[in-house]
Symmetry: D2
Subunit: 144 residues, 4 copies
C-alpha cells in the first residue's frame, strides 16, 4: 500500500423514525447495530463474499468479544451517518475494527467505536486462526 | 369450562425508553414484539414447557402466517401494558391468538391484535397437525 | 394517470444478521419495521419532502391505526426484500397503504401487508383532513 | 457504608426468541439495551422515582457518552441474565456505571460493561452538575 491510499471502508446509514429514544436522539445501543451493518457490508464490498457466505459457506464466524463507543454529539431521525471502518489490529485469532461516524452534511463527528472480533469455526464456536484471505483483507484496511 | 372461568392469559410489558419513535409514542411494529413476548411466556406459564423447550426439545415451531393489530390509543415510555392473550380458533395445523392490551392504571384500551400461527416441525419447516397436548392447552384458552 | 403507468413505489431492504429469530428466519415483527422504512422513503422519493420535514416542518403526522400482514414464505439473513408500496384507499383523514414484498433473485412472494394511517397535527395528535398535496401524492399511487 | 452491605442493584432480563442473531446467540448490541433497561429500573427501584419522572418531571437527562462491554460467553434464547449494576465513579457532571451479567442457573459470567453518562438539562441538553439527590443515590451504589 502506498502513501495516501484510502484504507477505510465507508458505509452510509439513514437514521430512521423508530431509531430515536424518549430524549429525541438515537438510542445509543443502536450505534453498535450500525457498526455491525457496516461490518456486514464490508465483506460483500471488499472481500467479494457476502457476510452470509463467509458464515454459512466458508464456515467462519466473527463474534464480538469487546465493543466500545464514544458518543460525541447526538444524532437524530433524518440524519445520515457516514461510518468509516478500518482495522486497528490483526492478531492470530482476533482482529480489532475501529469506526468513526460523521453526520453527512455538516461533517460533525458523532461517534467513534472499537470492536474486537474472534475468528471461530461456525458450529463448534472454537476459536481458530484467521485464514489468509481474511488476514489480507483486514491488513489492506489497517488504519494509518 | 364452566361459566365465568377466566380463559385469558395475562402478561405485563413495561414500555422502555428506547421503545418510542420520533413522534414520542411507541413505534407501532413493537406491539407485535410485545405480542410475541406474551406468546412466549404463555407456554412457560400455562403449558409448563418454556417456549424454548417446545421448539428445541419437542421440535414444534409456530411461525406466524398472519398478524394484525388495531391501535386505539397511543402508548408511551413509562406506561405498563397489560396484554390479554386468548385463543380464537384452533384448526388442524394452525391456531389463531387474539390480544387485547390495556394501559395499567387507567385501563385505557390501547391495542387489539390477532396472530395466526402454523404448527411446523422444526428443521424441515413442514406443517404438521397440532399435537394433542398443545391442542388442549389452546382450547382451555378459547375466547368466549 | 394513463394505462400502464407504474403506480407502486419500490424500496429494497437488505436483511441483516440481527434480523433473524431463534427459528432462523426473519422475526415477523420486523416486517412492519420494513414497511415503515419504505413508507418513510416514499415521502422523500415521491413527495420531494423527507418524512422528517413532513413531520417537523409541515406539522403532519401519520400514526398507524391498523396494520396487518400475511407471511407467505420465510425470509432469511442475506436475502434482499423488494417492497412495493401502493395506496389502496384515500379517505378524508386517513389513507390505507398496501405492501407486497418479494425476494430479489427468485421473485418469491414473501409478504403482503396493509397499513392504515391517520393524518394528525403533530403536537396535538388531533386528526385533520389530509392536505391537498399529500392527497394528490397518494392518489398518484393508487393501486390498480 | 459498612462491611458487607450489598451495593449492587440487580435486574433480571429474560432472553427472547427475537434476541438472537444468525449465529444463534444474542446479537451483541442488545446487551447495551439490557444495560439500559437495568439503568431505567434502577431509578424506580432505588431512587423512588421512575426514570420517566426523572426525565420529564425533574428535567434531568442522562445521555451516554461512553459505553463498552466485554463478552465472555454466549447467551441464548431461553436464558435469563442477572445483571448487577454498580457505580464506579461519580464526577461533578458525569457518572460511570459498571455492569456484570451472569446466567441464572449456572452462574456463568456472560458480560461486563461500563457506561458513562452525563447529567443534562432536558430540553437544552446542556451538561449540569448532578443534583444532590442523585449524587447520594449513586454514592450508595459505589462499587467496592
Amino acid at each position: 500500500m502506498w502513501y495516501g491510499e484510502p484504507v477505510a471502508y465507508r458505509a452510509r446509514i439513514r437514521i430512521r423514525f423508530g431509531d430515536e429514544d424518549h430524549a429525541g436522539i438515537v438510542y445509543y445501543p443502536r450505534f453498535f447495530d450500525y457498526f455491525h451493518q457496516a461490518f456486514e457490508d464490508f465483506f460483500a464490498d471488499e472481500a467479494g463474499r457476502t457476510y452470509k457466505e463467509v458464515l454459512d459457506d466458508d464456515g467462519f464466524g466473527w463474534p464480538s468479544v469487546h465493543a466500545e463507543a464514544d458518543f460525541r454529539a447526538p444524532l437524530r431521525f433524518g440524519d445520515v451517518l457516514e461510518l468509516e471502518l478500518a482495522v486497528e489490529h490483526v492478531g492470530t485469532k482476533s482482529a480489532t475494527f475501529v469506526y468513526r461516524g460523521t453526520r453527512v452534511g455538516d461533517g460533525a463527528e458523532i461517534v467513534r467505536g472499537r470492536v474486537t472480533v474472534v475468528c471461530i469455526r461456525m458450529g463448534s464456536f472454537e476459536a481458530r486462526p484467521i485464514p489468509e484471505t481474511y488476514r489480507r483483507l483486514f491488513e489492506r484496511h489497517l488504519a494509518a
